[in-house]
């Protein structure tokens, strides 16, 4: 049987690794290469690296650094941040990245998703949606680049992204980012039921039970940041990843 993937999500800012809380207050958590090496040794299912400064600063991906990341990964690596063209995606694939994650560019023009999918296959392009509650508590699509709400429903955006060729979607809860207070199970359920492609849920996971809840709601994969880089109530930096045996037991329940 296909396993549910558990994917550490690493955020990069100024070439260092950080972890945010509700998309703000990035806390430095260490050197990315070192962290990736540890995750590779722990045999993680897959790894996601998002450069959260690239689009905001209209910067290209840091190819040199990403090539070093890919060199440490004997599992699939997904990179997101600052990708605006097919040529940039091609360059990333050539460095050994399996998947590119698009958000800002896809919000501007979904045809970039189609153009990448046509050349490199749908499996190589992921579209992410950041969803944040407005003052009425309503879930709204949010642009991490402009830090503003986007005037289109988050589910419509993801549905259109899949129709444009995205082979997978990343659904992120801004409200729960880094809080470790559990995942937005209702939102995950709604997305998973509506979308025909694998859904990676991220935002809020703190335990194996949170991961299980997201999977039960229909997520094909669960990603987490804080859960895998922080330890204890004071959020001391410690890189961890569940043991394969524990994950097996979790999903057998």
């Amino acid at each position: 049987m296909l396993k549910h993937r558990i994917i550490p999500c690493l955020l990069m800012l100024d070439n260092g690794l950080v972890k945010t809380k509700c998309f703000v207050k990035p806390k430095y958590v260490g050197d990315p290469i070192n962290a990736i090496r540890i995750f590779n040794d722990k045999e993680v299912d897959e790894l996601m690296v998002l450069d959260i400064g690239a689009s905001r600063e209209s910067r290209e991906p840091n190819y040199e650094l990403i090539e070093q990341f890919a060199g440490e990964c004997f599992m699939p690596l997904c990179y997101g941040g600052g990708i605006r063209s097919v040529e940039q995606a091609r360059r990333l694939f050539a460095l050994g990245v399996e998947k590119v994650c698009l958000q800002s560019a896809a919000l501007d023009d979904l045809t970039i998703v189609t153009r990448i999918a046509e050349q490199f296959g749908s499996q190589s392009v992921l579209v992410s949606a950041d969803v944040k509650s407005n003052w009425l508590g309503k879930h709204r699509l949010y642009s991490s680049k402009t830090t503003k709400f986007v005037d289109i429903s988050w589910l419509t955006f993801l549905t259109d992204a899949v129709a444009a060729g995205a082979g997978e979607v990343l659904l992120n809860s801004v409200d729960r980012d880094g809080t470790m207070q559990g995942m937005d199970v209702d939102m995950i359920r709604e997305a998973a039921a509506a979308l025909p492609v694998p859904l990676i849920a991220v935002g809020g996971a703190s335990s194996l039970q949170d991961i299980k809840a997201a999977v039960d709601a229909g997520a094909s994969a669960v990603s987490a940041g804080a859960m895998f880089v922080f330890h204890g109530p004071h959020r001391a930096v410690l890189i961890t990843y569940p043991k394969y045996r524990d994950l097996e037991q979790l999903f057998d329940q």
């Binding site: 396993k3 699939p76 749908s122």
Partner: protein, 207 residues
């Protein structure tokens, strides 16, 4: 002897090169079909659409060199992912005939209506080994798991050609072989020590 990786434009070879190096082998990306004959083994790696892969092979003069290597020189060949599908007869994904080295046809996943399974079949899956083979041990204590990403799968005409299967909605061919030609649907280069062990076996295979 060095392993050739034909530089088909549908490929992403750095991961394959890296894992071969890691297990003590050596491989080279080959740009010119006429250089292929000087290599001992070959890996056909690639992702993307079937027709795109086959048209690259045909339009860039690879077809004769590949056939010569596999069918006349009988040197070991490993197809990975799309590479495995290209060595089959044909695919529902496209209209251009495949290399036809293994008597198999590539078909799309046919999941039950209302199935919760998603296509592409993406992620880690365990494989069931069908018979003794040179790539994956038959009776290992630990389950063998690999990273898969695909929407189409190969169906062998002769079940004897199936080396391993995986389950996603229904049984699919995870690995196949016909004589010197082998193929795996999953990505050994992205499958941690399980993939490393497989690549090491291919590297150490006597020509």
């Amino acid at each position: 002897m060095k392993i050739a990786i034909p530089a088909l434009p549908c490929g992403n070879f750095s991961s394959v090169l890296k894992i071969i190096e890691r297990v003590g082998g050596s491989a080279e990306i080959v740009d010119d079909p006429s250089h292929l004959a000087s290599f001992g083994k070959m890996i056909i790696a690639g992702v993307g659409a079937f027709d795109h892969g086959m048209s690259c092979i045909r339009n860039r003069g690879w077809l004769d060199a590949l056939d010569d290597f596999a069918l006349r020189k009988h040197r070991p060949v490993l197809g990975i992912c799309l590479g495995m599908q290209l060595i089959c007869n044909r695919s529902e994904e496209g209209s251009i005939p495949g290399l036809g080295w293994v008597d198999a046809n590539v078909v799309r996943f046919r999941l039950e209506p209302g199935s919760k399974m998603k296509v592409p079949h993406m992620g880690w899956n365990t494989v069931k080994i069908a018979k003794e083979n040179t790539l994956i041990p038959l009776n290992s204590v630990e389950e063998q798991r690999f990273y898969f990403v695909h929407s189409y799968h190969a169906v062998c005409t002769d079940p004897q050609d199936v080396l391993a299967t995986a389950f996603h909605g229904h049984e699919i061919t995870a690995a196949l072989s016909k004589g010197n030609v082998m193929g795996v649907q999953f990505h050994p280069e992205k499958s941690h020590r399980f993939g490393m062990a497989l690549m090491q076996r291919f590297v150490e295979l006597k020509c």
